[in-house]
Symmetry: C2
Subunit: 219 residues, 2 copies
């Protein structure tokens, strides 16, 4: 069996990925990236809770240059996150340029430094239209770059890349994953707002209408 | 004409790349990465001097996690840099895992954020045996990842990748490049030590034996 490091954001997708990876790899480590997102305190607390629950080591990596240099409504330094459903024209302001490329590259360096063979990211098909660095063609190219740049010692994979968020939720349920240990809302308030694009997406994936969603929402 | 951002380390290769790029692109910007290398104060001072001379904007990006998490003799936190010639067995301790992958990814995000089409790096053939993330196969894969992850808005290129350091020196001379504005030595003392692997490489590339090298060495 080999080892893996996963990008653990504290969201439901990477939470389920952690549960999934723990059953498949000898050891799993988590990396949490602090890049100035509005919801980072919430996210980081959830990532810590997940790491504790699954008894894995979690390393926090700060990237102060992201909010200093990049513009995005996802960042504390950016404009407001729009409300309403996830769609190209609505959510394009939440793009943080090449975010996954940056986080994956750092994770590849971390993996190579620690003799870990696999870097895992929880990209899924719902993210493809808006975020180019969530698409399978990007992950494939990035995996090739990781292999070439580490002389074959590290590879990158996105096991959920062809799945919808609903399918990830199903995998989580099969693994008895506790979704209340995760955070989605872009607003970073005390509770999930229940109205922003990512809350609406979470409600839909977790079957909120059918009473299957354990999340407490403001509305 | 299009715009470019270059990884400017303050070394002779990226210095010549800057001179070369200034004649080919509408605007050129520089990025200097501070990742805890032994010689970073010297390097950064040289990068600033180059930026001033070529009248370009220079942005310094700090990556504190590199020396916190990665082991390398290139870092202040690592073991001594070995002396003697550049060779696999001698210089492998100077590898910073996936360093170029990390710096290029951040540069790609910076370029996308600022509407810059090209990211340039000064990798050359002399680095290939020791550093996998300097090889053409890596740069090609990284360029593909950049294109996919930015929906075709940014590409990565290493114009000197098939050249030797000596050939880069020749290009520099043709462009009237002042090599005394650059720093190579891994030791980070007041003057170039003249004995470490990168000093020996610099002497050879600049024709030290033939009196063509303007560098002042300790020995």
């Amino acid at each position: 069996m080999e080892d893996a490091v996963i990008l653990l954001s504290g969201g439901m997708d990477s939470g389920v990925l952690l549960a999934w990876a723990c059953s498949r790899f000898r050891t799993v480590e988590g990396l949490y990236f602090e890049y100035g997102s509005r919801h980072q305190e919430k996210e980081c607390a959830m990532a810590r809770r997940l790491a504790q629950h699954y008894e894995i080591s979690l390393t926090k990596i700060s990237l102060p240059f992201v909010s200093d240099l990049f513009a995005s409504s996802l960042l504390k330094t950016g404009p407001e996150v729009p409300e309403g459903p996830y769609a190209d024209d609505n959510m394009s302001s939440t793009v943080v340029p090449f975010r996954n490329g940056i986080m994956l590259s750092i994770a590849v360096g971390f993996a190579e430094n620690n003799g870990i063979e696999h870097v895992l990211i929880a990209s899924h098909s719902g993210d493809h239209p808006i975020y180019p660095d969530c698409r399978p063609s990007f992950t494939t190219a990035m995996s090739e770059a990781a292999a070439k740049g580490t002389a074959g010692r590290v590879c990158v994979a996105a096991p959920f890349n062809s799945m919808s968020k609903k399918e990830i939720a199903e995998i989580g349920r099969k693994l008895s994953f506790d979704f209340s240990m995760t955070w989605s809302c872009y607003k970073g308030l005390t509770l999930h707002c229940g109205r922003c694009a990512t809350c609406l997406e979470r409600k839909s994936a977790l079957g909120h209408d059918m009473g299957l969603d354990p999340t407490e929402y403001m509305q």
